[in-house]
Symmetry: C2
Subunit: 313 residues, 2 copies
Amino acid sequence: MTSIADLYPTGTVTLREVGLRDGLQLVKRFPSTGAKTAWLMQEHAAGVRHFEVGSFLPASRMPQFADVRELIEETSRLGAFSSALALNERGAKDACDTRVDEIINVISATEEHSQANMRRSRAEAVELVRRSKALSQGAAHKPLVNAGIAMAFGCSIAGEVAPDEVLRLAEACLEAGADAIGVADTVGFAGPRQVAAVTEALVKLCGEVPVLVHLHDTRGMSIVNAAAAIDAGARALDGSLGGLGGCPFAPGATGNAVFEDLVFLCETMGIRTGIDLTALIEVRDILAREMPEEELHGALARSGPPPHVKWAA
Amino acid sequence: MTSIADLYPTGTVTLREVGLRDGLQLVKRFPSTGAKTAWLMQEHAAGVRHFEVGSFLPASRMPQFADVRELIEETSRLGAFSSALALNERGAKDACDTRVDEIINVISATEEHSQANMRRSRAEAVELVRRSKALSQGAAHKPLVNAGIAMAFGCSIAGEVAPDEVLRLAEACLEAGADAIGVADTVGFAGPRQVAAVTEALVKLCGEVPVLVHLHDTRGMSIVNAAAAIDAGARALDGSLGGLGGCPFAPGATGNAVFEDLVFLCETMGIRTGIDLTALIEVRDILAREMPEEELHGALARSGPPPHVKWAA
């Protein structure tokens, strides 16, 4: 049984590798379970401790996540933390039968996106949080429940999203028992002022409950938005190695915040990540080999860390 | 005769296109004067008002800047502002015979880099600022003198650079008559905390004299560093279309801050740039045609602005 203090320690910023889930959402070719395991193990050896490893969906719909249970086991064996998506009650039930540390439920910030993308209302999505929490309490490993609000900074369908709407949904998720609240700039609309304002208000609302910020680099703002989120009190940030993961609403656009660039940002801000950047960058070879069609992004992989900086090792 | 209030108005952030100078420093093929003029004119039509157009060096050494005088004339004809580098007294004299609005002198932050790169001491570089100012006062068009401190956030030779050293040099440049002070992250070592601290201290030291920040994206931090500089009171930021311009000390690395991404950042921060982002992005076609070997960077060119944002035009 994992506690919030284990998963998201206070006084630092946890960086979560989401490449194995969000990164694989749109790729043309799926890495083998062996390659995913090597990716996990090598990143773990480089110092990464928190992985989003897949989604509990029928393998017929999302074959790239058919091995989610094996990856949860592997993460657990390493002594690292795993999160996995559960988008319906069946998924939450299945997740509760594993040793996953965290179930992620997704709530759209707008009713339009919720209906179009998930064919359910936002209220129903909040009810899944409540149900996931109840299932978790009856489970052996008692995974934490993370409520992630998608399109929290702007919606591909509805356009602008009022911060008050995000806060209202977050409050409903807290009331339903969420252990952590996430906000996602799913389509890369946000700038640093908006991220700061929403994160600050959420941190105030959530009190002891950690706030996680999930950023995409669609418009090149993921790093500046990450800094704004950190300054506003976010406890965790998501990223993927090489920025793997596109955007279904902006074809050809860049994907998740680049994990290795987030590490560098944190280190320049005085946050010790414990991650060996050189070793981390080497893991990109696995992605390049397994998914040669995918463009990998990121500046650190091209430049390396500044030579005069004494790096974690 | 151009005033500081024209060139760097208070209450906003001026974005300067440096692609025609810094961007062309390392390229394998040089655009024709006609192509450069088209680049200038199209960016001007998109709303860009300030261009660094070249360097006053013997054309035998830097053939890509042989047409600097024509570009200064062209910029002036458009009613826009031009800056040009002058790295020695001969260059400053030549600049004073033109209608250039601003002469840029460069001072290395470290003695090691000054000697290795320019074969002169930092004190001699400061003296060139004094000499440039005297020459300007005797010239018809009286260009402003900008003292740009290179390697201000870390040096490719000496490693870490103490902020006090940068402040001491800035003070010497002010005493020598500089009308504006620039600081450059020449090799992309900086993070937002350092940029904020140095910029804030400089703005305090410089009083009415504008502080300019020149950022490279070598390690992916140019946008977050730009936001930090803006928040700390910088009056101007440099960037180049498509991030054109590499780094002589980090082969293969990305170059200048991407101009179009800086525009988007500013707009998200409530700074009205007056630049039509869609029209700006179209100018990249000229660069791609004239310099097919050069990789163009930037997220906005891939994604476009968010569809729901009402854009300047």
